[in-house]
């Protein structure tokens, strides 16, 4: 049995924000429910009002704006997987959707829910960090745009205010062509990440440009390893430099030991995965488009 609650189906973003405002801190946004309903069943959360945004059409759009690609918070993982814009410009994200949960869950789980839930292992976060994404937050009073890196405060903690929702995710364009993703789970299908890593970069005559490295499941929150990025940035790509950057990425992580692996194992796996992803991203990279 789920805890007792109340329910409203939002017809628009404005309606959802009105409901949040009216019902206060007891209200929770319900998107795909793949985290929230599980949390409610286990009594980790007992919201008194569920504001269902799953049929708000304006949240389910992906479009190309000037200087960015905009992904509505309500776009499902299946929606990301099937989007031609995502396939062409954000192959990193398409790749993640293949490793994300399973067919049934992908039909429901949303990108907004993945970010707002802020699990240290949330799969969409490292790629979006590597793509320099920002998050558009809305209240009934207006909108603000924050860097995803700032939005994530800690495990299951974000900048979201009680009366605020994630409206969209913006990815600046042109997007670096060199994109690579590596996820290690305990099995191939639908497993929670032990380590996940995403890289994006451009190059100019072999020199690495705009290198971004996002890491998941190896610290209280997903993060960018600026130490590793700085080792690569502006330097000629080589196996040696990739190995040094991978070592720095491993040192910048703060892995824990749990049922999925020891801290030492995770540290070693960050090094291996980052090195692999750097090579793959470099191979796919090209001259910047600007």
């Amino acid at each position: 049995m789920l805890p007792q609650t109340d329910y409203v189906k939002a017809s628009s973003v404005a309606h959802a924000l009105d409901m949040l405002h009216q019902y206060g801190t007891g209200a929770a946004i319900l998107a795909g429910g793949t985290d929230l309903i599980v949390d409610m069943r286990e009594r980790r959360r007992e919201p008194t009002m569920l504001v269902d945004i799953s049929s708000v059409e304006e949240l389910a759009e992906i479009d190309v704006g000037t200087g960015n690609i905009r992904i509505g918070a309500g776009v499902t993982v299946a929606g990301l997987a099937g989007s031609a814009i995502v396939q062409h410009q954000l192959p990193l994200v398409t790749e993640v959707t293949r490793h994300f949960a399973d067919y049934l869950t992908r039909n429901r789980a949303t990108i907004g829910g993945n970010l707002a839930n802020a699990s240290p292992g949330a799969d969409l976060v490292p790629p979006l960090l590597a793509l320099n994404a920002s998050v558009v937050l809305a209240t009934a009073q207006g909108e603000r745009t924050v860097d995803l890196n700032d939005f994530l405060v800690g495990p299951r903690r974000t900048l979201l205010l009680w009366n605020e929702l994630v409206r969209a995710i913006h990815i600046p364009t042109p997007v670096p062509r060199g994109q690579a993703y590596e996820k290690l789970g305990l099995r191939t299908g639908g497993a929670i990440a032990v380590v996940s890593c995403a890289v994006s970069m451009d190059q100019a005559g072999g020199e690495c440009r705009r290198v971004r490295i996002g890491l998941g499941a190896v610290a209280p929150r997903a993060f960018r390893s600026s130490e590793a990025e700085q080792i690569m940035e502006g330097h000629m790509f080589s196996s040696d430099i990739a190995a040094r950057a991978a070592e720095a990425a491993a040192n910048s992580s703060q892995p824990i030991s749990d049922v999925r692996g020891s801290a030492e194992y995770r540290h070693a796996m960050v090094r291996a995965l980052v090195e692999r992803a750097l090579h793959a991203a470099y191979e796919r990279s090209s001259e910047p488009q600007e």
């Binding site: 789920l2 609650t5 189906k9 319900l30 429910g33 069943r41 067919y103 049934l104």
Partner: protein, 158 residues
Amino acid sequence: MGERIVQINLNGRSVRLKAAPNETLLNVLRQKASATEVKSGCERGDCGACAVIVDGRAVNSCLTLAVQTDGATVTTVRGLGTPEHPHPLQEAFIRLGAAQCGICIPGVLVSLSAFLAERPDASRSEIREAVAGNLCRCTGYQKFVDAAEESRIMEGLE
């Protein structure tokens, strides 16, 4: 809190059900619509036994609230075909003996039928991936995939 009336099209029939906001579609289907063909397993989205098709999308009914489906079309395994006119997938499952203990089969058929409707040309490995969210502990996956492939051939011949 207060019960609502939820009107759904269930397997081609219009039904009106009463549901409180905290009732899952799974429980309402089983307890109030006699749809016991929808199986209850883990109730946390891991096993796929409770999969149904809501407005064309296969989802876990244990993570869907009944009130969310007001106005929706819901198809369970029973809505895919009848004993007289089974769905090509159901026919292929019978022909190949793809069901063992049977508990996962309603969810497996729901996932596969929705997936093949979306992706009629899916590869064998994509078909395998489509049932990754349906746990079968008899480990009958080989025959699920064989049956899915055979059902496409049969459909092509019709």
